[in-house]
Amino acid sequence: MPLATFLGLWLFKGNLSSSLLLDTIPLSDPLATLQVLMSGHWPELSLLLGAVIVVGIYALLGGRVFCSWVCPVNIITDLASWTRRRLSLPRTSEIPQNLRYYMLALVLILPILTGFTVWEWLNPVPIVYRALLFGAGSGLWILAVIFLLDTFVVERAWCSHLCPTGALFSLIGKVSPVKVAAVRADACDNCMDCFTVCPERQVLKPVLKKGSTQPFILNSDCTLCGRCIDVCAPRVFQYKNRFNSKYSNRIPLKVESKL
């Protein structure tokens, strides 16, 4: 309250689906906006403009930066993954990583058939916000299901396999200059700690395997969370601009990799 009074305005008016920053700059969830468009309604100009601004921001910073640095559901799925590690739960069955793109297609087709933005009733992102800000309990079961699914059924099921929002941000991230780079891949000692913490471990393989000449993790499934940077004792990884030619070519890796 004192902070808000001091500022004299709302920093963010609205919610994560659609808001006004400092009462002037519209920001909106691109997936929610796409759903409105698909439902056959022409959205307000501010919603469209807000989506364009948000897409621009994440295209610059790295698409799935949203997932690991902004999305509150990530805290729940990280907790599930930490629980799995602490309890040393056995590896689970795999489901295809690209299921999220089918989810994205489904989320965009449903408004055509129904005329409603169906996904927004189930989307766990606004549910976390409503729960924390209003104490609204309806929909909390979805968060519980996500936690139990991630912990006991399929590891990283939600964020790395199913979430349509993550799928859209992954597509946006394909043009982003910010990437994690294995700048000291030759120092890798194959301890596999990065594979253990990485929520999208398939993205690590191309930069660490023997003969690799490409240091940048270009797969846009990478959420740029920096866990690999934190966990690596030989300091293999760093955030880098992929258009910086200094890092774009390297000597083929000679390490005998177990990958």
Binding site: W10, W69, V70, L132, D193, G226, D230, A233
Partner: protein, 57 residues
Amino acid sequence: MINQHRSASKSTTRFGHAAVTELGWWRAHRFLILRRLSQLSVLSLFAIGYFFRFMAF
């Protein structure tokens, strides 16, 4: 040193122990802490908005 990392991470020591030993606690948790701060900041910015609406309007 290389073997030290490997044995540390494969033994019964806590996960990520090698990184903490080598880099120190902060550098081995830097982006985790920064991410949580970022997530909670975005959340609180929206919270200020809601709170202010209820109090003042």
